[in-house]
């Protein structure tokens, strides 16, 4: 019997205790979780391993979350990013969505809602990839490439 693919989640937050505990709770719910504690670590990680979904804090020492989002979208446009912040303003939310962020949530967040959002984000990622494959198989490579790289 084929093993169900685990959704690969990268958590990025400088509050170590918060993010470690959140990571444990997400693993208990069947997600494959990695954790980093700042923006620079997040970008190094993404260069080596492509997560399906990143859950990203905004206010961190060093690189601000919005900068991380911009860079991630350049490096790995398929990766979905959910902002999870205690600090975000409406302006931050608008900017995050314009940059291709999947969703914007405020701390403290309901764990079940967060898991639902992660699964939604992953489903969208898969759908996009399958649509691109369909176009590629049909020989419509420009469209396939656009589907992969464009922020919908």
């Amino acid at each position: 019997m084929r093993k169900k693919k685990q959704i690969k989640v990268l958590l990025v937050d400088d509050e170590v205790e918060f993010v470690d505990t959140l990571g444990q709770r997400l693993r208990m719910r069947g997600l494959a979780v990695d954790i980093v504690y700042d923006g620079e670590q997040a970008l190094s990680f993404v260069k080596k391993i492509e997560p399906d979904v990143i859950v990203l804090d905004l206010k961190m020492p060093g690189l601000y979350g919005i900068e991380v989002l911009k860079e991630v979208k350049k490096l790995k446009p398929n990766v979905q990013v959910i902002i999870l912040t205690g600090h975000g303003t409406d302006k931050d939310e608008e900017q995050a969505k314009q940059l291709g962020g999947f969703d914007f949530m405020r701390k403290p967040a309901d764990i079940d809602l967060l898991v639902a959002k992660i699964k939604e984000a992953f489903a969208e990622k898969l759908e996009r990839a399958m649509t691109a494959i369909t176009f590629a198989e049909a020989g419509i490579f420009d469209t396939a490439k656009r589907i992969i790289t464009k922020d919908e």
Binding site: D14, E15, E17, F18, T21, L22, Q24, R25, M28, K59, M60, P61, G62, G86, H87, K107, P108, I111
Partner: protein, 217 residues
């Protein structure tokens, strides 16, 4: 009738209070976030009915300890905010500069953390009390602090030193570390510290990496 400079200072002092409250709210929210996750983990463990497993019992104990510690942190931060509120509403007599700076350092620690700048206090013990406008003194310290913070590259230090010499008490804020040109937007216009000092009769000296407030007993 107030002078133009008084009006300008007063327009900006509300921004100062707003800044304190927003930084505080962020800090408190972080503590609550951790508490929520730790208590949620406990709930997960109980609901999954694995509490007989010793490893998970240890996790449970760790979560409880975390909750207690974070509630303590949140209460400490709130007590500093409460002291800030009482202080700015006071009459300006018998102000303890060590307490005022201590309060601001707790409330504004996040600003330093954000820029990876360490705040260090070097207070003279049992320092004499001074008279000054309690809100404007705090506002002035904050402006000088922000000025120095913006000058520093990350991994520097901001040192707050209080000393009594004769009939004056001084607070010196000096920065250690690499200087940076910061693009970050300041809370207040340039020169706000000088304006506050001139308008409210507070004495300051600015020497690049050193800022000093001198207060008479």
């Amino acid at each position: 009738m107030r002078s133009d400079s008084e009006n300008l200072v007063r327009m900006n002092h509300l921004k100062f209070i707003g800044k304190i409250l927003s930084v505080y709210a962020h800090d408190l929210n972080n503590q609550l976030g951790i508490i929520k996750e730790a208590s949620g983990l406990m709930q997960d463990i109980v609901e999954l009915n694995k509490s007989k497993d010793n490893r998970l019992k240890d996790e449970l104990a760790k979560s409880i300890k975390s909750i207690h510690s974070r509630v303590g942190e949140a209460a400490f931060i709130t007590s500093k905010l409460s002291a800030f509120g009482r202080g700015i509403g006071g009459d300006g007599h018998s102000l303890n500069i060590n307490e005022i700076v201590g309060e601001l350092l707790v409330l504004l620690k996040r600003m330093g953390d954000q820029r990876r700048i360490e705040f260090v206090s070097d207070f003279q013990a049992n320092i004499a009390t001074v008279n000054a406008d309690p809100l404007m003194l705090r506002f002035l310290i904050f402006c000088l602090m922000e000025d120095q913070l913006m000058r520093l590259k990350s991994k520097g230090r901001l040192v707050f030193k209080t000393v009594r010499s004769g009939d004056v008490v001084s607070l010196t804020i000096f920065s250690e570390g690499e200087v940076a040109q910061s693009d970050e937007k300041r809370t207040f216009p340039d020169g706000m510290a000088q304006l506050i000092a001139e308008t409210y009769g507070l004495s300051i000296t600015l020497n690049g990496r050193d800022s000093r407030i001198t207060l008479n007993l």
